[in-house]
């Protein structure tokens, strides 16, 4: 259900990257989390919030403010959702544990998501499945539950088709990176042309230019934030660390071997 809300916010850029840790929130998403009962009122509401997404630092507070003022139901829903899950458990007797609430969702049947309940316009709404599983995992991370043999969990993320992942996560980022590469490319081509007089087609024939192009493409792919440089350096060091520990005893070869005969 929440995917239809995503469709109303295309103008706002989706800033999530594939492999980086979560950072800034795309603001329209903030208002998307409310439960489906909000659907009819959604379009106007999100048009309001999308346009408010222009300031950088003030965005969190402004989005919340919009949420608060606009639809009273909205502000209540996010707080209600966890309660809904908690509330449905209070009736069911717990196994003697005191304050632990089990994960509960009407669409979670028999240890996996019942895809029939995710139908939208005749086909499965994969984004909603992804969202539901994310919530389940987050719930369990915050409230670890004992595993039981009576209701084993058998959900496998590979039932969600690859194109659903692509469309939602990869494509927006690909757009971003291609945009960056294109901007850099255009500017560099112009610069080289103005300095050397070599046109774009002739530039492509030159080995040095091809190398620069390759470096630019790889750079845009690999280094997406300033922190990535540090991350890569640390990664290289980490991968060779264990090896160094194994080789340590051989370093001793040259020093001190005459000490003890």
């Amino acid at each position: 259900m929440s995917i239809s809300m995503a469709l109303f916010s295309p103008p706002a850029p989706n800033l999530r990257t594939l492999l980086s840790s979560p950072r800034s929130l795309p603001k329209p998403r903030l208002t998307l989390k409310p439960s489906p009962s909000l659907m009819p009122k959604a379009p106007a509401f999100f048009a309001v919030s999308a346009s408010s997404d222009n300031g950088a630092g003030a965005v969190p507070s402004s989005a919340v403010a919009v949420e608060e003022q606009g639809e009273p139901k909205v502000a209540v829903e996010p707080a209600k959702e966890p309660e809904r899950e908690n509330g449905s458990v209070a009736s069911a007797p717990e196994e003697g544990a005191v304050a632990v609430a089990k994960f509960n969702d009407s669409r979670w049947v028999g240890g996996t998501w019942n895809l029939k309940q995710f139908q939208k316009d005749g086909s499965t709404d994969w984004d909603a499945v992804i969202d539901a599983e994310v919530r389940r995992r987050k719930w369990l991370e915050d409230n670890p539950e004992s595993s039981s043999n009576d209701d084993p969990v058998v959900f496998d993320t590979s039932i969600i088709p690859w194109w659903a992942w692509m469309k939602r996560f990869h494509l927006p980022e690909a757009e971003l990176l291609n945009g960056r590469a294109a901007m850099i490319g255009f500017f560099m081509a112009y610069l080289v042309d103005s300095l050397t007089g070599v046109g774009l087609v002739d530039q492509m024939g030159n080995f040095f230019c091809k190398t620069l192009l390759f470096i630019a493409v790889v750079g845009v792919l690999v280094i997406r934030k300033n922190e990535d440089v540090e991350t890569i350096k640390k990664l290289i060091e980490e991968t060779t660390f264990y090896d160094k520990q194994w080789q340590a005893t051989w370093q001793d070869d040259n020093s001190g071997s005459s000490k003890n005969g």
């Binding site: 999530r16 594939l18 991370e141 520990q245 340590a248 003890n260």
Partner: protein, 410 residues
């Protein structure tokens, strides 16, 4: 006269070293401070160890044929559908295994000395002996030997004496719980492995069946202070299955995370836990301890030509260290990589559990564990496995990103 060797520590590593040395004609002294103690241990050994070390099946308490791996969100997969009828993971009691290996070493000619080694005196010249100072039967004694094998475990005295350096270690904590019969039935041939930040930030928690009880425990490298909290976590995660059980023993022990900076110095060689030969990812130590003890013993026998010649540091390096590293470093490296990728975060653990559902993954991992060799695999299956590994990691990482966004909202 014959070469004299002292093996300090009478566990699997020491006993195997002593057995190889004594069988090869070296005059061997095996030191063990408490022959009847039960070292806190998971107690699982691979199939190849039963063959390679001629262990009688009567030593084995349980034949585990099913291993259940449980992810942070309780997604469960069962390892073991690829096991053939004669294959299993052997669970045994350390006191049973250790005393068997020790008495076998004794029967090959090693002299067993029950005593605590307090100091190892280093020689002044290349031909003077090492002097082992120990207390036995209330009196202080000493023994002069030519070669020393340090097999005295994670807190090795020998390692300290030769200045072998330190290693980082994990703390493994476990409670032995006697379950009511109907609950014990569930664990008859089944071991469980639990993953999640609530049970361990960088390792796994386990429920392993032993002779008439289960061992419920967890381990960690970086959060040793919180080990009790993690133990509560695993008790909670397994609650329906261990409820009503009675705790009969609580134990803890350090597990080395990597080899010591120096494993051979002078005419002293370290083996087993003393050297730091515990693999990452699985935390397996018994097989590698025994194997390294044996290889070290055989290396000394070869270099000394059956105890006739004196040996030097170069001999130990060439015949033992080089052989060991050439044979097993890649195994250790692969397991280190797996641990880094799959144990470091909840999403890595979810990915691992999902991958473990695949038959090819199960077959490859179980066979490499049981036979300690990289099994010749189907090339195409290998490619598919690599692709699905990347795909699963990407999906779980995306999900973790989404979870992070939810956290930031809430």
């Amino acid at each position: 006269r014959k070469l004299r060797a002292a093996v300090i520590g009478g566990g699997p590593a020491g006993s195997s070293a002593a057995e190889s040395l004594a069988s090869g004609g070296v005059e061997t002294f095996l030191f063990e401070r408490s022959p009847s103690s039960a070292k806190p241990c998971g107690g699982a050994i691979p199939l190849c160890m039963l063959d390679e070390f001629d262990l009688p099946h009567s030593l084995v308490d349980r034949h585990v044929t099913e291993m259940r791996v449980i992810s942070p969100s309780n997604i469960t997969v069962d390892f073991g559908k690829t096991l053939r009828p004669h294959e299993f993971i052997a669970m045994l009691r350390r006191e049973v295994l250790d005393s068997f290996l020790r008495s076998r070493a004794e029967s090959r000619g090693a002299e067993l000395i029950t005593g605590l080694v307090t100091d190892l005196e280093l020689p002044r010249s290349s031909s003077s002996p090492y002097v082992v100072h120990y207390t036995s039967g209330g009196s202080k004694r000493s023994l002069a030997v030519d070669v020393v094998v340090g097999a005295d475990g994670a807190n090795s005295r020998v390692a300290k004496s030769i200045g072998a350096g330190e290693y980082s270690y994990a703390i493994a904590f476990q409670e032995r719980i006697r379950l009511p019969d109907e609950k014990m039935k569930y664990y008859e041939n089944l071991a469980e492995m639990y993953l999640g930040d609530d049970v361990s930030p960088d390792f796994y928690a386990w429920v392993f069946p032993k002779c008439d009880h289960v061992a419920v425990g967890t381990g960690t490298v970086r959060s040793k202070r919180e080990i009790k909290a993690y133990q509560r976590g695993i008790r909670e995660r397994a609650r329906p299955k261990i409820e009503g059980g009675q705790v009969i023993k609580v134990e803890a022990h350090p597990i080395p995370e990597h080899p010591r900076p120096v494993r051979v110095r002078g005419r002293v060689a370290l083996v087993g836990d003393a050297a730091g030969y515990v693999t990452k990812c699985s935390g397996e130590g018994i097989y590698f301890a025994a194997k390294s003890g044996r290889m070290c013993g055989e290396g000394i026998v070869k270099a000394s030509e059956g105890g006739a010649r004196m040996v030097g540091e170069e001999d130990l390096r060439r015949e033992y260290l080089r052989q060991w590293d050439d044979r097993y470093v890649s195994t250790y490296r692969v397991l280190d990589l797996l641990e880094k990728v799959f144990y470091g975060s909840n999403w890595g653990r979810e990915a691992m559990v999902e991958l473990c559902g695949g038959e090819y993954v199960q077959r490859v991992s179980l066979e490499s564990y049981m036979y300690k060799r990289l099994v010749e695999g189907d090339r195409w299956e290998g490619v598919k496995m690599a692709a699905s590994t990347v795909a699963t990691l990407v999906r779980c990482k995306i999900m973790s990103g989404e979870m992070g966004r939810l956290k930031a909202i809430a």
